[in-house]
Structures are given as structure tokens and as C-alpha cells.
Subunit: 340 residues, 4 copies
Amino acid sequence: MYSFKNDYSEGAHPKILNTLLQSNMTQEEGYGYDTHTQNAICKIKNLIGNQNIDIHLISGGTQTNLVAIGAFLRPYEACICVHTGHIAVHETGAIEYTGHKVITVDSNDGKINAKKIQEVLDHHIDEHAVKPKLVYISNPTELGTIYTKEELKNLSEFCNSNNLILYADGARLGSAICVKEANLTLSDMCKFTDAFFIGGTKNGALLGEALIIKNENLKEDFRYHIKQKGALLAKGRLLGIQFEELFRDNLYFELANHANEMANILTKGLKEANCKFLINSPTNQIFPILNNKIIKKLQEKFSFYIWEKVDDKNSAVRLVTSWSTPKEVVLEFINEFKKI
Amino acid sequence: MYSFKNDYSEGAHPKILNTLLQSNMTQEEGYGYDTHTQNAICKIKNLIGNQNIDIHLISGGTQTNLVAIGAFLRPYEACICVHTGHIAVHETGAIEYTGHKVITVDSNDGKINAKKIQEVLDHHIDEHAVKPKLVYISNPTELGTIYTKEELKNLSEFCNSNNLILYADGARLGSAICVKEANLTLSDMCKFTDAFFIGGTKNGALLGEALIIKNENLKEDFRYHIKQKGALLAKGRLLGIQFEELFRDNLYFELANHANEMANILTKGLKEANCKFLINSPTNQIFPILNNKIIKKLQEKFSFYIWEKVDDKNSAVRLVTSWSTPKEVVLEFINEFKKI
Amino acid sequence: MYSFKNDYSEGAHPKILNTLLQSNMTQEEGYGYDTHTQNAICKIKNLIGNQNIDIHLISGGTQTNLVAIGAFLRPYEACICVHTGHIAVHETGAIEYTGHKVITVDSNDGKINAKKIQEVLDHHIDEHAVKPKLVYISNPTELGTIYTKEELKNLSEFCNSNNLILYADGARLGSAICVKEANLTLSDMCKFTDAFFIGGTKNGALLGEALIIKNENLKEDFRYHIKQKGALLAKGRLLGIQFEELFRDNLYFELANHANEMANILTKGLKEANCKFLINSPTNQIFPILNNKIIKKLQEKFSFYIWEKVDDKNSAVRLVTSWSTPKEVVLEFINEFKKI
Amino acid sequence: MYSFKNDYSEGAHPKILNTLLQSNMTQEEGYGYDTHTQNAICKIKNLIGNQNIDIHLISGGTQTNLVAIGAFLRPYEACICVHTGHIAVHETGAIEYTGHKVITVDSNDGKINAKKIQEVLDHHIDEHAVKPKLVYISNPTELGTIYTKEELKNLSEFCNSNNLILYADGARLGSAICVKEANLTLSDMCKFTDAFFIGGTKNGALLGEALIIKNENLKEDFRYHIKQKGALLAKGRLLGIQFEELFRDNLYFELANHANEMANILTKGLKEANCKFLINSPTNQIFPILNNKIIKKLQEKFSFYIWEKVDDKNSAVRLVTSWSTPKEVVLEFINEFKKI
């Protein structure tokens, strides 16, 4: 039974495993001072076109979020994000554990904008409430939607003029950047945020996210924060190799592009069969609305999560494609759907 | 200019000051082991009719909330409260600073109920989200509304059957209990909650809240929590004297009753003059909706806060009466309003 | 039975109670914006001779320490203090609860110096250990000893040149300043530290410590920290009145001076009777070494704490005098000792 | 140049890499519900001979320590460990960041015993100090020394009778167990502690420590703690595979045994050449005392850390062998030393 439950069901892209093997017995420095990590950082800096950024490789998304946000904020400062934001609902209060409130604003499409942020600022005006200081976005969002270059630019300008840190969770960033309509590059991500991370775990790595810090004020002593939260791997080479390979020869975007294509084929195929969607997602997570009986039938051959009940007879499901999803399986799913 | 801004503008009831004076040069044990604190605890236990409760006197409301909630929850457990809850908006993230998420549910009247809580439980089902464990209510609420005995009983049963702690912020508890329609006593508060506090600061004390812990599981080593959060006063006698006097001869309820009466007279007077209200409040905070020009005029003679904009021409204001509000001033306010 | 257990067994100096009474029914702003607090701040600034400092009134010593240190440090930064430091042993891990390590160095006399600090710095050199950032001293120390002006100046210079914050706990500061040999003024305390507090609780106030922040970098948004830790009293007037009176007409130093004098008389009287001391203390805490049988005898008429066992037959005890200790009682203690 | 700096300079044992490759494209459940993790847990339970334990796989040692200790303690409870303990000096205050004090006791050999613990208990008796609750040991210690079965049994009995949790950091546990004189098995470790971890990172894995929780009271909701601290890897298979292989066919102990043997050869060789040692270590970290000139000479061919200055002419160095240290290199080092 093939799983569309997530994009981390397989191991890693073979090129990564191959480098693991090739380099295995070479002695390297620990804690991120190995040659692979240094190579990876160098490659990413070049790709972004900015040598004046700090890059840290960290195991996973929740860990990166809590280390970064915990480091960026003073104790009474708070984050703002949409009510579906990953830090708001799926990280077991990791941000609150670092002492910071997560203020949520309602959103239909998983995205935030200047108006919603302004409303929060208007309600937090003195020391009896927290001080909103950091805007958290994810790109793509939890609903598969994306920020275009123009939208990011606007957010960035609003944050700058309101002395807010703009931080982007890029657990699936490759997928967002590979959507042509977004007109967005890694350089743009860097230009328009104070810090963001490039997700490896969900795009072909065994583990690892690359955190980019551009804002000078946020850089100081960052490795202390990583170590204190238990996030400094002794064998940093393991993280280094992931990103060294992902950013050699454009592999990162090839993999993300494949995931998007598979999702697009699915979307197109289901739409042709008159399937409705909860939301339009151009990335590798899609949310078709299916009759509950059809869902049961499909689940005999494929595994996937039910996202939410739509009405008594229908539910939205979440289908996630990945760097490793075979095209045949996608077509099989469509056929199966059409058959039913 | 008389202030209706809050119920803590004056000092303390003269009886409290008198006892401060009388007892001043007597040596007492520190840290709450003085005779006044022991007396106060004894009086409150008798009034509640339960000798098997723990009582701790703490300086203020935010401090009591953070010490109690921080003590009651394990690191990954969270509170549930209405979106206007004091811990959610007016405590500068004090609860989050102790590491715990505050999950909010929408509410028109400042009150929570089983249905709203159930929805939260339904969305927090595994270790990827926090575990909702404590229901925070305030009685009266931030909007001056109250829980009746019946409502509290229902909440209590729901919490019990869902293994949730029910905790009540009673910063203005006297005012809630003095509303006859509530049909509620201190004993009921104790019966239907796991822990709650009786507010002194807003009902005639210089400072002080009396935290009652009934649930056996929540009692252990509680003084360690108080000390660790800096809330254990060396001269605990100061807190002891406040509650010793408030609970000698029924003073606490006399004061709360006076505050309610003054608010009721205001409400009645304004209603007679066709004033609308944002919400029906039987306690000492009321929220009349006034024309902005009238507000300006009234503010020449009285100070009070504008609560929220209602439309382009009108705003709701908050008028707070207290144990010390003179009846003449209340009548003067009504007259002034009628004149305008 | 008279208690020499501590300096907070009585209420407050009568002048403070008198002002409480006189001002009781005047309406005041809440949260430290009352006229008394503003007056107190003004008086202290004038006395120190520096208008460019921030002053915050906070209930107690542990609370002041945790709010201040929690505010001053970034998450991975640590305090250094002697192993007998109040934050190290008598605050229930309050500093650690704010997330910061307290590094201790051994000390015989309760005092720290540059050499001891340098050793700590030498062992904390990279991100695998915390970053020592704040030096905590108390003046007088837990052993009643004091820092002279010269010693403080040296510490200050060392801290400045090593980018360390120097913070002084002044729970009994009056007592230290009233020792003539110290040659130290409030202005010096301000000059040589980044922040310090002037203790009220142990020198005639009902409660309250006045935190002085001189270092510009430590001032920002400080009221947010106070509120978040539950330390912002609604009736700030209560704190304001304490310090308004203590710093009107030199009362603060008169009281501290009295406490010192009473301790000096005790010391002199006991020494005349050949009593040895654990340490030489010129302030209001003294540590005579007494035969255990004599201790038992004395405890029939006076209460005091046994500090530590010296040998099988003798123990050091702690005798604390205060602003309110009567001279007759002191003489009585000496006589009793001589008699035995 | 060969490095004796640590035991994590190479990648992983080839068998682990091989399984990574073989299983790479098989879809697995995320977050530790994969078949490899389940296999690994099963193997470890069988080896320990206790099915009633909980096992969690976590990336690294600091992370395991902070998740475990943060989960096991209530806010005011503290750890006790020796002054050289890893959590006390080399984890950047990670434990304090979770809010808990680390109380240290002096020790010459890196080991703690009942007497030292009792002294701490004697000084922590009420709510003005933290409550010591957890004894942290590491086996082997930071100085390479080990606890024998008898010593562990005694510690265990003392902790049990004093209601203390005994927790063992086993970052190099294999090395301790492979010392025959210790007479210690994994089953003993489980029998005599409440919780401990089996280190993978320093014994042939890419990353990963296996935390064993035996004490029922410490098990509840543990995955919430892991997730909240960002330690729940999406591709848990990566951790699963490490321990599946290490505990298939006794590999874990073979590797540890090799590391010990290499260290023993080094020790023997150096002693034959009249080298003194800082401490007797039977495990894979040894601490010879060398003349500073000899150190410089040796560092031309081998890299290793200087541990501490012994006198003006000599220093103790740390040599660490590992699962992958070639015997030839060890012999070469001895020869080089003898030559010089």
C-alpha cells in the first residue's frame, strides 16, 4: 500500500547516502566544524548571493523554530502567526516552553498580511500585555499555499517599519520556490526576511534544516543557543553531508520540483474527474474533498490522512507527494478514483 | 475629579489599617507563619466549611495565577480559557513564561462552557500538540458577568469527567458571590473547583489574594513554588492582617456588596436615561455605550476608561465601582449624564 | 521572649504607617504611577545625585533578584557569585527557574574578588559551557561583612574591562553604608554597579526594595519584566509610601545606624566576656561562637538561629538586630550571657 | 594526522550504513513508529530482560539529558552531581534552561557516593532552598572511571531510601560495561537506576541515544516531552536503524570492547615507558601526564586535547580511542612516545 501521508516516509536521496558511504572513515571535526558542513554553508551562501549571512544546520523543524525564536526574543516578546501556524498547533507548545506567547490571527488560506498584524499591534500597547515582536510565516503554509515575491516584499516592508522580525519556516521551502507563479528565489527569501530556514527533512534528506540568519542583531552567540537546547550534533558531518549534496548540482530544486509535479498531476487528474478542493495548493500538499465512501475505498490501496470533515457525506483529505513519489503511483491513484 | 477607572484607587479599609497599627510592634514569625496569617486561614476554612483545604496568601492576581498554574501543570500541559481571559491578554505572557500554552476559545460574555472545552479537547489528541489540562475561569469575568451555581456545577462535572483541573480567578470574587441570582457561596466555589482564589486587592485590601487548594494532588510542596517565584513575603503578617480583617465580621462581603450596589444604581440610572449597555453586568464593572461627545463631557468631571469602539459615534466605556465609592458621586454621575 | 532571629519580625516604622493612614482615601493611579512612588523615586535620584537612572519598586528581595537577573541576561548567560550567595542557596532556584545557571566560587568571608571571577572566566570559553555575564554580590554579604568603596571600585573596573554586569543585592544596604570604615555612599553604589537595590523590608518597611538601574542597556522595557513575573502591584502606592518615608529626612540611614549600633554593643559586650566570633561583622548580623549549653540557656529568654556547628561543644549562632531592637534588650542579652 | 581527540570523528559502523542503504526506499511511519525503531526497542528489552520498560531514541546526549531531567522533575526540584558532571559544565546550562538547579559536590574521581549526597540533603531542608530529587551520574564518568556493580547497588539503595531518582548518563556506557572488573550488565544498569541511556553516538552510530525508563512514575506522556523539546525526529527510522544494528549480534559491545582494548594498549605502553597518569581509567579515555615539550612533538603527528596543567613543565592530556581506532596507530603513538 503506497502512502501519501507525508513527504518523509522514505530515507534519503541516494546521492546523500553515497556521500555518507564515501566519507565514512575520514576523521572530521565535531559539532559542525567538519568539511561537509563548511562546504554546505559555502554552497548555500553562493546560491543566495550573500556572504554576510550566518548559516546553522539543525536536525528538525520544531527544533529549529524553538532555538531560533527562543534566541531572537526577549522574555516578554511574542510571536504572531496564523491560527493554523505550525508553531501554534503542532509543536506541543515548544515556543511557549521557551517562555514566549504565540498570538494567533484567523486566516482562511494559511497566510498572514499587514492588516492582520496591525490589529494585533493595536491591541498590545503597554506592559500589561506581551510585546509582539516576531512574525512567523511558513512558506509554503500548512495549507500548501505560498507567498509570492510581491507578498513577501510587502510583509517585509511592514515588518521593517514596525520594528518586527520576519521569520520564515521553510520546512517545504523548495516546494514553494519551485512554483513559478511565486516568482521567488532563495535570494528573495533572504532579502525579505530577517531569518528563515531551508528544510531538508521533507525534501530528500535524512534529517536537517539550514537556518539562515541575515539580521545582524540576531546572529550573536547563536551556537550557544543551539548547544543549550541540545541541538548541536556531535557528528555534525551527518547534517553537513545532507546539504552538501542537496545543494550540489541543483538537486534540492530538482527534488522539490518533482514533488510539485506529482501533486499537480494528481490535482489535474482529480479535477478532470470533477473533484472539488478545500483550497488551491500549487505545492506538494493537496486537499481534495471526497465522498466518505470513496475515501474508504481508496484507503484500501493508498494510505493518507483525513484533514477535516466538510459535511455529513464529504471530507477533505490531505495527499502529500514527495521527491520519491513514482509517477505510476500517482496515475494509479487517479485511475482508482475515476473507477470508483 | 473622581475616578471610576478601577477598584484599587484607594488604600485599604480603615479596619485593616487599624490592625496594622495595633499589631505593629509585636514580633511575629516571618514567611506566613505569623499569627495573623494563621487566623486568617482559620477564618476562611471555617467560612468555607472545609478544614481539609490548603490556603496560601499571595500579593496579587497575576502572581497567584502564575504560581498556581505553573505548579499545577506538567511542562507540556496547557490551559483553556476564553479569549478575553485575564491570563490570555493582561498578564504579559506570565503563564507562557512558566512554559505553558494558553489556548483560547471565543466567547461573547466572557464565560466558557463544556461545549467550547470539548472542541479544544477534540483538536488536541496526541503528542504533536499540547495536552489541555486546566480550565481557567474568572468569576466575575472580565466583562462583569458571573457564573451561577448551576453553571459552575456543570463545568465542574465536565472537568471531572475529562480529568481537567478547574481553576477560578477570583480577583473580584466577592462581587460575584454578592449577586443573589448567582446563588453561590464560598463553599460552592470550593466544592466546584480544584483551586480558586479570593481577591483582596480589589475589595478593600492593600494587597493580597487568598489561594484555596482543594484537590489533594495539587497541594504538595506548594510553598516551594511560592518561594521560587519570589512570592513569599518576609513580613507575611502584612497579608495575614488583610484577610484577618476582611473575614472578621463579614467585612469582605459588606464591601463587595457596596461595590455592587453602587454599580447597580449607576446601571439603573443610566438605563432610565435610555442608555444601552455592551453587556448585562450585575457586578461592580459596567459597560454603558455612550456617544463620544458625551464621553468627552463626562470625562471633564470623572475619569474612566473607554473599553471599545462600538460605531463611529459611540463607544462602550467601563465604569468600576468599589468598596469605597461614595453614593453621592454615583448619583452625581447619573445627574451629569442626564444633564448632558 | 525577644527574637534576634531576623530584622523583619516587627511591622513598619511608625512614620510609614502614619502616611499610610493619612493618604488612605486619596485616589491614586495604579501600578506605580501614584504620587508616592513618583516622590520616592525623585528623592532617591536626588540622594544618589543622578537623574539618569531608572528606579523600580518591587515587593521583596528574591523577587527583585529574579526579575532583574532574568531581564539582564540572554538565555545562555550565567551569574557568578560566592557559594554562600543568597541567589545560590536561599531562593529555591529562582534564578535557575528563569533559565540561568548560578556559578559559585568558594569564599570564606562572603565576598568575591577579581581573581575568583577570572578563574571562572578561564573555564568558560566556548558554546559548550554557559557564558558568565553577571557578577552578583550582596552588600552586606550573607555573613555580615561589607565591601569597602575601594573594593567595589576594583570589582567595578574588573567587570567593566571584562564586559560583565555588576549587580548588587542590597537587602541590608543601609547597614553596609552606615559602617564608616566602608567609606561608601549610595552614590558610590550607583557609580560602581550596573544595577543594585536598596532594601526596605529589612530596614523598617512593611515590604519593598528599590531597584536602581544605571546601565542604559539594561533599562529597556523593564516594566514588562516586572509585570510578567507578577511583581507589579496594583496598589503601587503601598510601595511608594514605604520609600517616600524612608528617604524623607534621612530615616533610612537612622534606622540602619541603630541596627548596627545595637549589633556593635552586642559584639563588644560578648567580646568583653571572652566570646569568640565566626567572622568579624560590622553590620547588624553577628555570629558569636557559644558553648551549646549556654545556647540552650540563652534560648530560654531569647530566640535566635544556630548558624553552624563549630565543634562538638560549640556552635556559631546568628544574632540579628534591627531598626526596632531596644537597647535594654541588648544589654539584657549581654548580662544574661555574662551571668551564665 | 590521526586524531585521538574524541570518539565521534568518524561516521558509523559499516553495518549501520549498509542497513540505511538497504532499507532506504521502503516507506515507514514517522516519529519513531517505524519498524526499525520497534525492532531496536524489542532487541534492547530482550537484552535487558525486562519487557516492562519504556525506551525512547533521541539524537544526542545533551538532548537526552535535558528532555529526561526536565520531564522527571517538578519546577523546584534539583539535580545532584559531581562538579565535573557533564550536565554541570559541558551542556551550556541546558538543565538550568529547563528551570532546574544543578547542585554539585566535589569529587576527585568523577564519582559520587551516598555520603556526598547526604551532605547535600542535610543542607536542603525547607522551601527556601531547592529540593534535591535526582542524582545524576555518568558511567563511565567524565574522567573515564567506572561504577562497579556493587557501587551502583549501594547508590541505588541510598537513593531509594531517600526518595531520590537515580539517573545515569551512558554516553559511553558500552565502554563501562566492557570493563570486566565492573562486573556490570545492561540488566544491572536497569535494575539499579530509575532511568539511564545507552549512548550510540560515541560507539559507532551516526547519532542516537536510547533512553530507558524503568520507574513507572517517570513514564507518563514522555513523548510529549520529546516533541516539545524538538527532539522527535520525523524520520525516526534513522535512529531506529542505528540501534537495530548495534544490538543485532552483539555489535555494540564488540565496538566498545575494541575501544577499551586500544586504550589499554596505550596505557600499558606509556606506563612501560614510565609515563604517569592523572587518574586510572579502564575505559576508552585516558589521561597521561606528559612533559609539555613531548606534547608539542607528539602533536606534530597526532591530535589530542590538553586536559589540564599539572605543573610548569607537565600537563595531563586526554587520549580517546574509539570503535574505529586502528591498532597500528596506537602502537605508532607508543613508539613515537618512546622515541621522544
